[in-house]
């Protein structure tokens, strides 16, 4: 049986499979299964039963999200599917691989999702910098139209579905789904108040599902090979496989599709080859820039949403950023704070003013001008910018590496104050 459904067609040493080769490897079988009589309710039940959780970062159950979309004759006629392909979480490089390596897989997943919620139109909200992904997807979309998987009355189902490519123009906040919808509508990408949630009132006020690239890529396998097969993939409690990446000073950084539930050690020391010679592991962010630091003592925890949450962090995007003992933790957190300060949309005060303040303090630390008072201000901001204090999740995301960094690397912060310099600089 297939053990790597997300990457089975990916070989970056050649161009992605064209539609004929893709079909030959079970591609678009799910659309044929739908044409043979799967109703939208049937598909919804399959996806709910699979236990798939969103791969964009939040880990919300996909089937449950879809089930909030109004159904039936009295529901709004126009519904939308939007693909969040605006990958910009620091240290995250998984959706790029899927789109450049096997664009048809995402399109097949989009057809399944759109059919389930009965959306006749989808927008791919693609990061503007992902020029290779754009070309691969445009070519695949053209092929799918020619083969009758897109357009009017797909395979005789009576279901119409069009895909429109939207390339964005930057800004991390567009990854927040309501900000993304505002950007698609041609507005500044400020997040919207919730409720109403996009499932009920999203793009141009219509019911809208926003799904991450990797989430969609999980769907074809679930329909083609079945829920039991999908449940057989995992080594832990959460279902399926996931793309895991490692960056930083390891021997072989990269991105691999692995079952959920493997120990972190296997990823860092096995696949990524362990630390480069002469370096020790000091800590790591398990799932991108807005997750809490974890330590070497956490290496035997398994890669699972709930297990990682137990030590106060999040699996999130599954792409790890490794901190070694010769790189300054204060500098690393400072780099993240500069990013978050720059990417704040500026709508709410704590985020707009708080993050640049934090950023400035880190610059002072870097220059040997940090004080105990500054350190207290940083601690205070972990609370002030935390969940519930801001309009969206951007600033709370920033407090994850900030709060955990202050906790785990306290000595390094203190040293910057007492020595009036960064001791990692030679």
């Amino acid at each position: 049986m297939v053990a790597n459904p997300l990457t089975k067609n990916i070989d970056m040493s050649r161009p992605p499979l064209d539609i004929t080769a893709y079909e030959a490897n079970d591609g678009y079988q799910s659309v044929h299964a739908i044409a043979k009589g799967l109703s939208p309710e049937d598909v919804l039940e399959l996806v709910k039963g699979s236990g798939l959780k969103g791969r964009g970062g939040a880990g919300f159950p996909t089937g449950l999200k879809w089930s909030f979309v109004p159904r039936g004759d009295n529901s709004p006629k126009q519904k939308y599917l939007v693909v969040n392909a605006d990958e910009m979480e620091p240290g995250t490089f998984k959706d790029r691989l899927l789109m450049e390596g096997d664009p048809h897989l995402m399109l097949e997943g989009m057809i399944i999702a759109a059919y389930t919620i009965q959306a006749s139109k989808a927008y791919i909200f693609l990061r503007g910098e992902y020029t290779v992904s754009e070309q691969a997807l445009r070519k695949a979309i053209k092929e799918a139209y020619e083969r009758g998987y897109l357009g009017k009355n797909i395979l005789g189902t009576g279901f119409d579905f069009d895909i429109i490519m939207h390339t964005s123009a930057g800004r991390y906040i567009c990854g927040e789904e309501t900000a993304l919808l505002n950007a698609l509508e041609g507005k500044r990408a400020n997040p919207r108040a919730k409720p109403p949630f996009p499932q009920v009132s999203g793009l141009w006020g219509k019911p809208t599902i926003v799904n991450n690239v990797e989430t969609l890529c999980n769907l074809p396998g679930i329909l083609t090979y079945g829920v039991d097969w999908y449940h057989g993939l995992t080594k832990g409690n959460d279902h399926g496989t996931k793309l895991f990446g490692v960056s930083g000073k390891v021997k072989t950084p990269g991105c691999w599709e692995l079952p959920l539930g493997l120990p972190i050690r296997e990823l860092l020391e096995g696949y990524a080859g362990g630390m480069q010679d002469g370096l020790e592991l000091k800590g790591f962010l398990p799932g991108g820039g807005s997750t809490d630091f974890m330590l070497p003592e956490h290496l035997d925890i398994v890669l699972d949403y709930d297990e990682i949450a137990k030590v106060g962090s999040r699996l999130a995007t599954g792409t790890m950023i490794v901190l070694d003992d010769k790189t300054c933790p204060v500098g690393m957190v400072g780099n993240l704070m500069k990013f978050f300060a720059h990417e704040s949309c500026g709508f709410c005060t704590p985020c707009r003013d708080g993050l640049p303040w934090v950023d400035q303090i880190f610059r002072d630390f870097e220059n040997g001008e940090g004080s105990e008072k500054d350190l207290q201000i940083l601690h205070d901001h972990v609370t002030y910018l935390g969940p519930g204090r801001t309009f969206c999740a951007l600033a709370p995301g920033a407090t994850a590496p900030l709060g955990s960094g202050l906790k785990y690397f306290k000595e390094d912060f203190e040293k910057h104050i007492t020595q009036k310099r960064c001791s990692y600089k030679h």
């Binding site: 990958e87 910009m88 979480e89 620091p90 240290g91 995250t92 490089f93 959706d95 790029r96 990061r127 503007g128 910098e129 992902y130 020029t131 290779v132 429109i164 939207h166 390339t167 964005s168 123009a169 930057g170 800004r171 991390y172 950007a183 698609l184 509508e185 041609g186 507005k187 500044r188 990408a189 141009w204 990446g245 490692v246 960056s247 930083g248 000073k249 950084p253 990269g254 991105c255 962010l285 820039g289 792409t319 950023i321 490794v322 901190l323 070694d324 790189t327 500098g331 690393m332 780099n335 993240l336 990013f339 720059h342 990417e343 949309c345």
Partner: protein
């Protein structure tokens, strides 16, 4: 603001080219309202002109019949819409966390030295503009940067030399 000032601002609008209009019209078929096409139109104009001047921005607002202030709000929000003239090649330099760990600051210093420009500046010959960009999503091959539409990975000073040379040769 007097009526005269308002009128003179509107008069500064550039008439969009036929090519630009054709591409904007195509985008209009993909979105249910004109406002949504604003960002696409900015990108189309930038593709043809290299950047978005005041005259271009006013021209788009006029063509789409949307408030110029709203469009300016969008134009200044997004990193990749250039409201100032840029060089022939825009270098988008990733300085996010993985690239930082892998030593992008040294690479940036080297570029700064070779091209004699800092972030937001353009070389005297107009060949390159240097702009920082958030994580480019290629972290296992850090440090990385883009030049125009192309991604360059595992950067070293030697690689920077050959990249600069390649783009200079491309134009000659």
């Amino acid at each position: 603001m007097s009526q005269q000032v308002i009128a003179s601002t509107a008069n500064k609008a550039r008439n969009l080219s036929l090519e630009e209009i054709a591409e904007i019209e195509h985008e209009m078929t993909l979105y249910p309202d004109k406002r949504a096409v604003g960002l696409e139109a900015l990108k189309i104009v930038q593709k043809h002109q290299g950047w978005v001047s005041d005259a271009s921005l006013l021209g788009i607002a006029k063509y789409l019949d949307i408030p110029a202030a709203d469009l300016e709000g969008v134009a200044t929000f997004f990193n990749l819409v250039y409201r100032q003239q840029v060089g022939k090649n825009v270098i988008l330099f990733c300085d996010s966390v993985s690239c930082w760990i892998m030593g992008c600051e040294g690479i940036k210093g080297y570029i700064k030295e070779q091209l004699a420009i800092d972030y937001g500046e353009t070389t005297k010959d107009g060949d390159f503009t240097l702009i920082p960009v958030p994580c480019l999503g290629d972290c296992d091959r850090a440090p990385v940067m883009m030049v125009g539409p192309d991604l360059h990975r595992n950067l070293t000073p030697e690689k920077i030399d050959s990249i600069i040379k390649d783009y200079k040769n491309k134009q000659d």
